[in-house]
């Protein structure tokens, strides 16, 4: 079991630890500031915290193992070429400015100090020095299909999921809301769309199945069987058993709508989701908060509710609000209403850590 959890919230970053009495808030950082995401890099123990500051914009802070937090460099877009017409899928001009850090991932065991960073409005950055300097993946940013990307829940498109392939760290897959799934096999030099098979249930036929308009809310890759992927999509749950080359729909009860998904690190067919009613009604079904778990690759799901509120619960768990540790036994879940729970038995039961935190954007085992 990992010993610590980083909880990114609207008003600070909280560290959760396990005491004899149970899980508890051990420390609070950056109180009052919005933290969109944090990363604990298990390769060297470095922590990162991404600020989404209302006035001062996006900032990145880093804490080397055993050291204090310091501000490092924020990924920055190059100067927009004079006269360039750059419109998103809605037809709105794209602002070449980092507007949110929405994904942070280590680049693989063979690339120490290197981390990937996904942003709004859709740029992917890489740092080979733990955030001191950043390089925009120009090949993706200047790909003509990027102009088909559009905002989903947010006004502008963004990269929120980065899956570095455990078989070869030069292969990286991204999920974009809304822009489908993108894959590189050459460490970011070239990119291809990989959301084929995902589809919306409504809309014009030409749009429903267009890979570039798909809205995968969250994507995870199985560490134990890396050809298998799970996606919580805007229009349901999808899985792939062939490296994301083809996606198929999975139906779940009480609903297939949601944001987060995690996969068991040692069993690709075991995955967890947190359902809401549907896209235009983002609250738990019947006011009962449940986590759903499949153990058979999506054929069946079990609702897990022990320890979770079953009356007038209006929590939504955002896409980074659910995480599993490296054993696969412990899960942590933080909600839009500031509730935080931990399970030590794969979701069978949950312990409430706090019901008074600010709105929770992301949780991460450290």
């Amino acid at each position: 079991m990992a010993g610590k959890i980083l909880v990114s919230t609207r008003k600070g970053l909280f560290e959760i630890g396990r005491t004899r009495a149970g899980w508890a808030i051990m420390d609070a950082h950056f109180l009052g500031d919005t933290i969109s995401l944090a990363l604990h890099d298990p390769r060297d123990g470095t922590d990162y915290a991404a600020f989404h500051h209302g006035h001062f914009g996006v900032k990145l802070h880093r804490r080397l193992k055993g050291k204090k937090w310091v501000e490092v460099t924020t990924p920055k877009y190059p100067e927009k070429p004079e006269g360039l017409v750059d419109l998103d899928g809605w037809g709105k001009p794209v602002k070449w400015t980092t507007q949110m850090i929405w994904a942070l991932e280590p680049a693989g065991p063979d690339k120490p100090n290197t981390i990937w960073c996904g942003t709004m409005p859709g740029g992917l950055f890489r740092s080979s020095d733990r955030g001191d300097t950043w390089e925009l993946m120009e090949s993706l940013w200047r790909h003509s299909d990027r102009n088909k990307w559009l905002g989903g829940g947010a006004d502008i498109p963004g990269i929120h999921s980065i899956c570095v392939d455990p078989r070869n760290s030069n292969t990286v897959r991204l999920a974009v809301s809304c822009g489908g799934v993108w894959v590189t096999h050459d460490n970011g030099l070239t990119w291809a769309q990989s959301a084929h098979g995902m589809k919306f249930t409504q809309g014009p036929a030409s749009e429903k199945e267009s890979p570039d308009g798909q809205d995968p809310h969250m994507m995870v890759q199985s560490p134990s069987d890396p050809k298998k992927f799970w996606v919580q999509h805007h229009a349901g749950i999808f899985k792939s058993i062939n490296n994301g080359e083809k996606w198929t729909r999975v139906n779940a009860k009480p609903s297939s709508f949601g944001f987060g998904v995690v996969v068991h690190p040692k069993d690709a067919d075991t995955a967890w989701f947190v359902p809401g009613i549907k896209d235009e009604l983002r609250i738990p079904v019947d006011g009962e908060l449940v986590v759903i778990r499949t153990r058979d690759g999506g054929k069946t799901f079990k609702s897990l509710k022990k320890g979770l509120p079953q009356k007038h619960a209006y929590d939504i768990v955002f896409r980074h609000g659910l995480a599993v540790d490296e054993t696969g036994d412990c899960l942590v879940m933080g909600s839009s209403t500031g509730n935080l729970w931990v399970s030590e038995n794969q979701g069978d039961s949950w312990q409430q850590v706090s019901n008074t935190l600010p709105q929770i954007y992301a949780v991460r085992w450290a």
Binding site: G54, H55, F56, K59, T74, K95, W96, T97, T98
Partner: protein
């Protein structure tokens, strides 16, 4: 802080040269004023939020303020 220049841009260039990180707090990647920041010259908000070409006089007072927002 004190500085000189014909425009807000020229003045801030001097200020930011002394503190480069300050620039990223006031201006975005393309050099425009961040959406919740305000710059006033002698009490009046500047008009050019992209290039900061509004003129300043030798004795002008320039304020950089946060526009409070959020909950």
């Amino acid at each position: 802080m004190e500085g000189s220049g014909e425009t807000v841009y020229e003045l801030l260039e001097i200020v930011f040269a002394k503190n480069s990180r300050l620039q990223t707090y006031v201006l975005d990647d393309q050099g425009g004023v961040r959406k919740h920041m305000r710059i006033l010259v002698d009490g009046l908000a500047i008009k050019d939020l992209e290039k900061l070409s509004d003129p300043v006089r030798k004795d002008s007072e320039v304020w950089i303020m946060q526009a409070l927002s959020g909950g």
